[in-house]
Amino acid sequence: MKEFLEGSHAVAEVVKLCKPGVVSAYPITPQTHIVEDLAQMVSDGTLKAEFVNVESEHSAASVVLGGEAAGVRSYTATSSQGLLYMAEVVFNIAGLRLPVVMTCANRAISAPINIWNDHQDSVSLRDTGWVQLFAENIQEAADFHLLAYRLGEDKSMMLPVMVCMDGFILTHGIETVDIPTQEQVDKFLPPYKALYKLDVENPISIGPLVDPEYYLETRYALQKTLEEALVLIPKLTAEFSKVFGRTYNGLVEGYRLEDAERAIVAMGSVCGTVKDVVDELRKKGKKVGLLKITSYRPFPIAAIYDALKNVPKVAVLDRAVSLGSFAPLASEVRAVFTGKKKAPKVISSFVVGLGGRDITKHSIKEIYSLLTAKELHGEYIDLKPELLTPEFKG
């Protein structure tokens, strides 16, 4: 049913429909509304789950690890410093092949402290073995949780999935969302049956010491499974479409790319702003387009290649930085075309919107106008020179 809902509330509603047995989280802005809603549902009895109050994010992640290890569908959510505090356990959850689903309400990283949106938190944890799906709008954020459990719990996967939604812009934004019925969700998402679980009747050990004879293969297996996820995701989104009536590719979404001479590559809510700018510039006869990356992990190498191989000029937008090197998304998009005959002539890189700096239509137009024959590396957009000391003003 179509409702007018805050992003956090929409996510909580959909998580409830997924019937997790364990929910654990520690409050941190801008994730808090999601777990407040879930706590209320547990308290009201509308969600039959154990809500475990903890003293830190490290413990929250450990609780959902334990829940999944005991064969129970589990959920957590966090942001920013909270995700970093979880990091050690986040790696463990993937290494143990536990299909936890977590919402990351994307927020900048301290210091200086900043509660607003960018992608530095989840991008910093890209190498953990988790699937990371980035939502453009609240509907996607809600829907991707359904996809997340279905994908992660697939017997061929057994992977944790992080649904990334832009803090405030989507978590605190309110818009029209179609919340599915329980029948629809049950049709798409069967009850969770773990391949292996901790069970006192049939004891097993998980995560024991693995010496050099065995460790390498565990990482290889994770890598191969994530590559296989690139095949499974579009199959699941096709099935999703049949049940819920909304169609996603799940890996990437091309917008007006067919004859594009200049394209932007981006993730998350900024893609909506880019689409509006694309339409405006197209009306003026400019051949521009957008490639939205939904699945950041696994990185859809072949899909990106196909979408951009005939586009002469590409601008990659990063809402995170890899300090001391190229911007993270840009370096990977460039890697896709290493050694390829067909490739964009220019792949320029732009850093935007860190710590909630507003990305306007003007910001996007500036990026298109800077996308010329001269390749740019990590060009900061909307920088305020007056805030910089003289030696940095360039």
Binding site: I115, F168, I174, E175, S269, D358
Partner: protein, 183 residues
């Protein structure tokens, strides 16, 4: 597409105002996107809430710099900020008036509507929260929304005495501007 910018201080209910306004548009069959922008994240700090609405889903995620409509919940903000910044040439501002605070001169085609929203709220709700009175005034000033849709919205959000009080506040806000327009 219409864009509405609300100026308030944190704790004055601007997010609720934006969500009520958005919901009224939702009832009208439009696609609203209501969202806040927090400043210092503490009570009393100046903040904005926004509503962007269109006949199709809104994709633009930036803040609002050139609003069609302004709702100024706290008139004292006009002392320190240019609340009218970027207001469209034919834009309309609805202002919760306050003694001793002057409203800046506006463009020839721009309109300002002042009402004692806090006084209305004190009489109807018993608390100086003029938001629903301002929304009633918004309906009268802009003709964007039918007053009944606003009532429906308030009924969905509030119950009991709060519902009655807020409906009455919205009605009085609406009537105040309606009469002003006539007069």
């Amino acid at each position: 597409m219409k864009e509405i910018r609300i100026h308030a201080r944190a704790g004055q209910g601007a997010i609720t105002t934006a969500s009520l306004l958005g919901y009224a548009y939702f009832l009208k069959g439009m696609y609203p996107y209501a969202f806040p922008n927090f400043g210092a994240a503490r009570m009393g700090a100046p903040m904005n809430a926004f509503v962007r609405v269109d006949s199709q889903p809104v994709r633009l995620r930036s803040q609002i710099y050139e609003p069609d409509y302004l709702i100024i919940v706290d008139a004292t903000l006009m002392r320190g900020f240019n609340c009218f910044s970027g207001l469209k040439e034919d834009g309309v501002a609805i202002i919760n008036e306050k003694e001793g605070v002057e409203v800046p001169k506006v463009g020839a085609r721009q309109k300002t509507f002042l009402l004692p929203a806090n006084d209305i709220a004190m009489k109807t709700i018993g608390r100086p929260l003029g938001n629903t009175a301002l929304l009633g005034a918004f309906c009268a000033a802009t003709n964007e929304l039918d007053l009944n849709m606003l009532f429906e919205t308030i009924k969905k959000r509030f119950s009991g005495k709060a519902q009655e009080g807020n409906i009455e506040a919205a009605k009085q806000g609406f009537d105040f501007i309606k009469n002003k327009k006539k007069g």
